[in-house]
């Protein structure tokens, strides 16, 4: 089985999943850039992780259905995201202790 061409890859069915993932990623990115609540930023970050996971699973399903590499990778990302969430929340707690607030814009000590 030869490698599928780009046009073959981007067939109509897979494209729907990719659009979904892209939309999720864009929402997450928008959330990160615009939200000032640190918890909201973390939540947006989770959205972006999941968008990536959808991509991985979708490519796995439509390009090489006989392997599971994309799915296993997605599971890894989920595990890592859980670990990342704990660290992120710990940071948020420390921010709260220092500023009595979780407004990310107020954490601006490291500047000129």
């Amino acid at each position: 089985m030869s490698d599928p061409t780009m046009s073959q890859l981007l067939n109509a069915e897979m494209l729907r999943y990719l659009w979904l993932a892209a939309a999720l990623f864009g929402i997450g990115l928008f959330g990160i850039l615009t939200r000032r609540n640190a918890i909201a930023i973390l939540m947006s970050l989770e959205l972006m992780f999941n968008a990536v996971n959808i991509n991985l699973v979708a490519f796995n399903r439509f390009t090489s259905p006989s392997t599971f590499a994309g799915q296993i990778f997605a599971i890894f990302v989920v595990v890592i995201a859980a670990a990342e969430a704990t660290v992120g929340l710990a940071i948020v707690i420390l921010i709260y202790r220092n500023w009595r607030s979780i407004d990310a814009d107020r954490v601006n000590l490291l500047k000129w």
Binding site: L29, I32, L33, T34, I41, A104, D105, V107, N108, L109, L110, K111, W112
Partner: protein, 676 residues
């Protein structure tokens, strides 16, 4: 050498000199805080030396072998070169034996006397240490067996006299007098040193015997001997205070009075006369040098006697009297070198050394008596004394004996020795006239002193009221010396043999003093005239001293101011020296210091320039780099806003840029454009 006589005391005679040195060292190092013990050690040493000296004299007389004594010489080399040997040794000849007795006798009396006189002085022990050292120096000088060694002791005498004259150095006048004595005698010592150098250059040795053998052999030209003789005499002029270096002696009265006695009678000034006596063969070989010696002595004796006529300080009168008497001795020694058909050869030598001995005794007595008077009335001014006889019988009567001795009244000591000197002047009319005149003046000023001090009405009631006889420690030495002042002359009396005829012998001429009746009568009459005049002026007051003074006012003023010699020296020597010093100082301050300051100013100015360069150019460069970096970084640091959103936006745009580049071959296109 002349080694014939052997005896214990003659072989070990150097201990007479060493004992005072040892006692001095013990006092200085160990017993300074125990004053009676210090004095005891010092007196014990000198009295032992006195006993030993008498023993030496007896041995010398025993070994005289009918008028010709064999010298005793013991020496070892301290420095030895191929052609010369510097020796440390002693020689005993008749004059040395005589001087040993004189020095130890006077020194013993002075030390015992000082027990009372210096009682309670804060530096009592040190005083005794200095006295012992002084005595040691003089005894060493007496015993020295060569000219070099005598010079060493000569300088030691100078040093110790400086220490003792300036003993009360808290007084400015005393410390000045010490310096004056030291420096003035040093001028003469320079001549002595020069003489020694010439002696070594022309004769090649310092040893007495070798020098005199060379002189007698006639191989040395006379002008060389004359030069050496005059140079060595310069030393004697300084030490024996002859004109023109006499100025230190009157000032030396600032020292304690017993020290004056020691200096005047036995140690310091006697050294000069002794040196001339020792070097006598030089002067017999050179008539010119002998004439210089004789004329200086003659002039000094008259010059000093005339000053003594009018002085009012009891010690100064005695000081000028010493000058005059020393002039006598020097003159006699000088005349010994000038042959005269009127006197037998050696008379001058005998007279000089004989007078040295008798003078030592009565001059020590006079000074100690004066010290006793000063101790009682606390002033030196005879115009404030008077009538002290009643209060101080012992002092006054011993002083009277000394006055008779120095005036030359039969049978006191001075009579014999002074007549001997006048005999030695026979054949030289000028000398004889002046010497006789000096005898008259001596009698006058001594009895002026006596009458003003001890007789008449007290001129200062308060001082008279407090006056008292001195303690026994002071009066006993006076009495002992009075005996010698009375009797010492008999040893050299005409017709007395066994002592004088070879103690004072010179050059193998066994000297037999003979009575010259003309001299005896003239000098006695002159002395009695002097005493009589003093009696009329100061005791009877039948001639008023004031009217005499009025008649010869200019001469009186001249004499009272000591011929203005001190002022003359001040004008021609001291002031120019000061002026030269000030000139050199101003040269130093202006020129030398100016150069140094100029260099400093230039350095200072240069450093200002360098400071400017360093501050503006070097530092400017370094600061310029700093400022540039600061300004450049100012633009970029604004990027660090501290806002999370900004950073993330940058990440996003960066990401987009990379994706665009990667997906549109823009990168490849760009790389191709730049030629890669």
């Amino acid at each position: 050498m002349h080694e014939t006589a052997h005896s214990f005391i003659l072989d070990n005679a150097y201990w007479i000199a060493l004992l005072p040195l040892i006692s001095s060292a013990i006092i200085l190092f160990f017993t300074r805080w125990r004053e009676p013990l210090s004095a005891g050690i010092s007196i014990t040493a000198i009295v032992l030396g006195w006993v030993a000296s008498i023993w030496v004299m007896i041995e010398v007389l025993i070994n005289s072998h009918g008028g010709h004594f064999q010298y005793i010489e013991r020496a070892f080399d301290i420095v030895s070169f191929e052609t010369m040997h510097l020796q440390l040794g002693f020689v005993i000849d008749p004059v040395a034996a005589m001087m040993l007795i004189v020095v130890t006798t006077v020194s013993s009396c002075v030390q015992i006397y000082s027990l009372g006189y210096m009682h309670g002085d804060p530096r009592f022990s040190r005083y005794y240490a200095y006295l012992s050292l002084f005595t040691f120096s003089m005894l060493g000088l007496v015993l020295a067996n060569n000219f070099f060694l005598i010079f060493i002791f000569w300088e030691l005498v100078g040093l110790t006299s400086y220490l003792l004259i300036g003993f009360w150095f808290e007084k400015k006048s005393a410390s000045d007098a010490g310096k004056k004595a030291f420096i003035t005698t040093k001028v003469g010592d320079l001549g002595f040193l020069l003489g020694l150098m010439l002696m070594f250059a022309w004769i090649g040795t310092f040893d007495y015997d070798e020098v005199f053998a060379a002189v007698k052999s006639g191989q040395i030209e006379t002008w060389k001997l004359t030069t050496i003789g005059i140079c060595i005499f310069c030393g004697a002029v300084g030490k024996s205070a002859q004109f023109p270096l006499h100025v230190w002696l009157p000032d030396a009265m600032e020292g304690p009075t017993p020290v004056s006695a020691l200096i005047h009678a036995a140690t310091m000034v006697a050294a000069g006369v002794y040196l001339v006596a020792k070097a006598m063969p030089l002067y017999t070989a050179s008539t010119t040098a002998a004439a210089v010696v004789a004329y200086i002595g003659l002039f000094t004796s008259f010059f000093a006697a005339s000053i003594a006529l009018v002085q009012n300080d009891i010690k100064r009168v005695l000081a000028f009297s010493t000058l005059s008497q020393l002039g006598y001795m020097i003159m006699a020694l000088g005349l010994n070198g000038i042959l005269s058909e009127h006197v037998e050869p050696g008379t001058g030598y005998a007279a000089g050394t004989f007078h040295l001995m008798t003078h030592a005794f009565f001059k020590a007595l006079l000074f100690l008596g004066a010290g006793s008077v000063i101790h009682a009335v606390h002033t030196n001014d005879i115009q404030l004394m008077g009538g002290l006889y009643g209060k101080m019988k012992k002092t006054a009567s011993t002083f009277f004996i000394a006055c008779l001795a120095i005036a030359g009244i039969f049978p006191f000591a001075g009579f014999f020795s002074k007549d001997e000197i006048i005999v030695a002047t026979m054949g030289h009319p000028v000398f004889q006239t002046v010497a006789s005149l000096v005898a008259f003046m001596t009698a006058f000023y001594m009895f002026r002193l006596y009458f003003l001090t001890f007789t008449g009405e007290p001129r200062d009631e308060e001082k008279y009221h407090h006056a008292h006889e001195s303690p026994n420690s002071m009066t006993y030495p006076l009495m002992f010396l009075a005996v010698l002042a009375f009797g010492a002359g008999w040893f050299g009396a005409p017709g007395v043999k066994g002592f004088s005829n070879y103690i004072f012998e010179y050059g193998g001429h066994a000297h037999t003093p003979s009575a010259h009746w003309s001299v005896i009568i003239i000098s006695t009459v002159l002395a009695l005239c002097g005493i009589g005049l003093a009696y009329l002026m100061y005791y009877k007051k039948s001639i008023s001293p004031d009217t005499v003074v009025e008649k010869v006012k200019p001469i009186y003023t001249l004499l009272y101011n000591k011929y203005y010699i001190d002022e003359l020296y001040d004008f021609i020597l001291i002031q120019p020296t000061y002026r030269l010093g000030r000139f050199l100082w101003s040269f130093d301050a202006n020129v030398v210091d100016g150069l140094v300051n100029l260099q400093a100013t230039i350095t200072y100015w240069l450093s200002d320039v360098k400071h400017w360069i360093d501050k503006n150019i070097v530092d400017g460069t370094v600061n310029g780099f700093g400022l540039f970096c600061d300004a450049a970084s100012g633009a970029f640091r604004k990027m660090q806003s501290g806002r999370l959103a900004h950073y993330l936006l940058a990440v996003v745009f960066g990401m987009i840029l990379i994706i665009l580049l990667a997906s549109s071959n823009l990168l490849n296109w760009t790389l191709a454009k730049v030629g890669l």
